[in-house]
Amino acid sequence: MTKRLVINPVTRISGFMEIDATIDNNTVVDVKTEGLLFRGFEKMLVGRNPLDAVYFTQRICGICSTAHSMASTLALEAAMGIVPTEQGRYLRDILHGCEFLQNHIRHFYQYTIPDFVRLPDKYPLYETDHNDFRLPKGKNDEIAEHYFESLDISRSAHEMLAVLGGKAPHNHGIFVGGITTQATTDKIIKIKSILHTIQQFIIGRMVTDAYAIAQYYSDYYKIGGGYGNLLSFGCFNGYKELGTLYVNPLVYSQGKVDVFNPGEITEEIDYSWYQDKMDEYKPMDTVPEADMCKRQAYSWVKAPRYNGIPYEVGPLARQWLSGEYRNGISTMDRTIARVLEAKKISEILNTLIENLIPGVSVQKEYTIPNSSSGAGLIDTTRGALGHWLKIEKEKLSFYQIITPSAWNLSTRGNNTMRGTAEQALMGTTIQNLQTPVELGRIIRSFDPCVSCATHVYSQGECIKAIQVIP
């Protein structure tokens, strides 16, 4: 006999989501991941001053705002015909790297650790009702202590970002041409010094803690794999003198790595709350209107596809595609890859900082073209992020955003093929149906950012929008 299991809210993610699973004999036989927040950034951007997109789109997300400033800047540069200097690229990539560190440290300690480690339950925030805590008490309490230490470290990653980026979240630094200010010697040495402390923490605490958890929860190497298709738009790559410090735009499917081709990206909306005028479209084609009355739809998240099929994006995809980590594709591999990536990013930051020349201004007086278009595709903390924009009469006339979490948390596509995370949940055995910890652990390994994924535009409304099945 089948049973329906609903988890909502899925906590320790950004934004609002529900997992709606059908369970038969303690096994997930069907599942939907549902994004339950709607805003409408793409429509909001139409008519605005193009340069404002850098600051405006950051407000899509409070934990990865820098990501959006990177993608919008790249799209604007493409549309305005601007090629940043290498110093400009180093500077903004340093800011972007700081965000990776802030994100990964917070995700591992504040979002992941409470799934595996018993935190002091004298604090109401950490009370939980499951009992699947397996670490020996000494190790458990040590990692719980690191949870609190990590707060200082992730905070200092934001401080490092603010040294050259004015403030965080929602930095003022990344802009067309690179960043707005100059790196002076005192700022460079300040960043180096903060980075040193962060790096010590990653090596001395974070990596060890991740492997300790992996040791006691080794069954999680066997579950939550999904399709095993991986994609990256590339990041910290293609520098004129430094070459590629991390990963080039690549895809992986069925054991084969290929060069990524942006022309193969489409979005499908058969199972999302949008009017289904066309089966699929390319990013520059259209932004569909919403329709909460659509019977089969269940989420605000659309279904981005590459070559017609779902792909996983994020740290594991990048670690795999760059050849840094090839252990496997699973819940625990995703967690380990994120932690190893934090170490990798700290090394990349060191290289970029060493190549900075103090006192270089990379800003010019820019002119907005009367009419143009551009795309900004880049890998950010959670994976591949794309901004596509058009300018008419010196104003934005079109804006499209496809976020990493849309790739990972998409609904079924038009061919009813499930989204990546949905596929990862399928077949999972749940030990105790009263406390289905497995599902949350698998989902959180993707580091969902539903605020980002459901930035989408919608119009229509429907009174009987959400059907509650008894």
Binding site: V6, T11, R12, P114, R155, E159, M292, S451
Partner: protein, 299 residues
């Protein structure tokens, strides 16, 4: 012997929040003050305010949850999930609690554009949750631009029908605008509530502790403005008024407080203030950046 006198502005920055925290610490230790329950709702927004709160150093997050409050509910940080999490939220209304809200209230489609949880088989909309919890809270603090006036979530054409927290509640709401809210603005306000009750507020319910002067009044580039020396592009060290700086209309203490362990702020980063702490942000603060220095700046 140190004979250097501290700048009074600098001293004030440190005093406003940290004196309050220290007093909270002493009084809780002495048993003259008791921790209050704190519920933090994230609604339609980017959850940037809870991230900004984690950036707080004075005090830090651990101090907040261990010494100042019993922090009951927050979607981004709590260990429990699903019904267990919602049960904690539903159970709080019988007790005394302070409600902090970030994000705007989506009103479209009966609030279904933002569902924050599932309770007894029904979706719980943000709209419903903020009304239920807002009416019974001892204090309601709206933090961040979305909660105080709709912010970016309500930007034209406001597709989700977003409104401020105040507009769905018939009661006093303390407002801490900013995008995001600086951790000191929230923690200082909270410390004031714990110690003395509601802080002095201006006519728009902002604590005077933090919102008592314009950025322009304390801007280190003010002398360039007075002399009429204006930057023509970003990255210059002169007044950015003609590039679109909203310091002259934005009431907040960024020039003396700064961000992220007090290390920097937008103007020191050679970019204009975009007025994120001012009611009307973003629509009335645009364009954020313009190179058309001949334009008339409307107030």
């Amino acid at each position: 012997m140190n004979t250097v006198k501290t700048c009074p502005e600098y001293a004030a920055r440190l005093q406003t929040a940290s004196d309050l925290f220290n007093k909270v610490k002493d009084e809780i230790k002495n048993g003259t003050l008791f921790k209050k329950n704190l519920v933090w709702l994230e609604l339609t927004g980017c959850s940037g305010n809870i991230i900004s709160l984690l950036d707080g150093a004075n005090p830090d997050f651990k101090y907040l949850i261990s010494q100042m409050t019993d922090f009951i509910y927050n979607n981004s940080l709590m260990a429990a999930e699903g019904e267990t999490a919602m049960g904690k939220l539903m159970g709080i209304t019988d007790k005394e609690y302070i409600l902090a809200v970030e994000g705007a209230v989506a009103t479209k489609n009966n609030g279904l554009y933002n569902v924050i949880g599932h309770w007894k088989g029904e979706p719980v909309t943000a709209f419903k949750a903020v009304k239920m919890l807002g009416e019974k809270a001892s204090y309601v603090i709206a933090l961040g631009a979305c909660a105080t006036h709709g912010g970016v979530s309500a930007a034209k054409p406001n597709p989700a029908g977003c409104v401020s927290v105040q507009s769905v509640l018939n009661r006093k709401v303390i407002k801490l605008p900013g995008c995001p809210c600086h951790p000191d603005w929230f923690l200082g306000t909270l410390a004031h509530i714990l110690l003395y009750g509601e802080p002095d507020l201006d006519k728009r319910d902002r604590p005077l502790l933090f919102y008592n002067s314009l950025i322009h009044d304390r801007c280190p580039r003010r002398s360039f403005f007075d002399k009429g020396i204006f930057a023509k592009k970003l990255g210059e060290s002169t007044c950015m008024f003609k590039l679109g700086c909203r310091g002259p209309v934005t009431r907040i203490d960024c020039p003396i407080r700064k961000w992220n362990q007090y290390v920097n702020w937008p103007i020191e980063d050679d970019t204009p203030c975009i007025g994120c702490a001012q009611f009307g942000f973003p629509d009335q603060m645009e364009p954020f950046i313009t190179y058309n220095t001949t334009r008339e700046v409307e107030e």
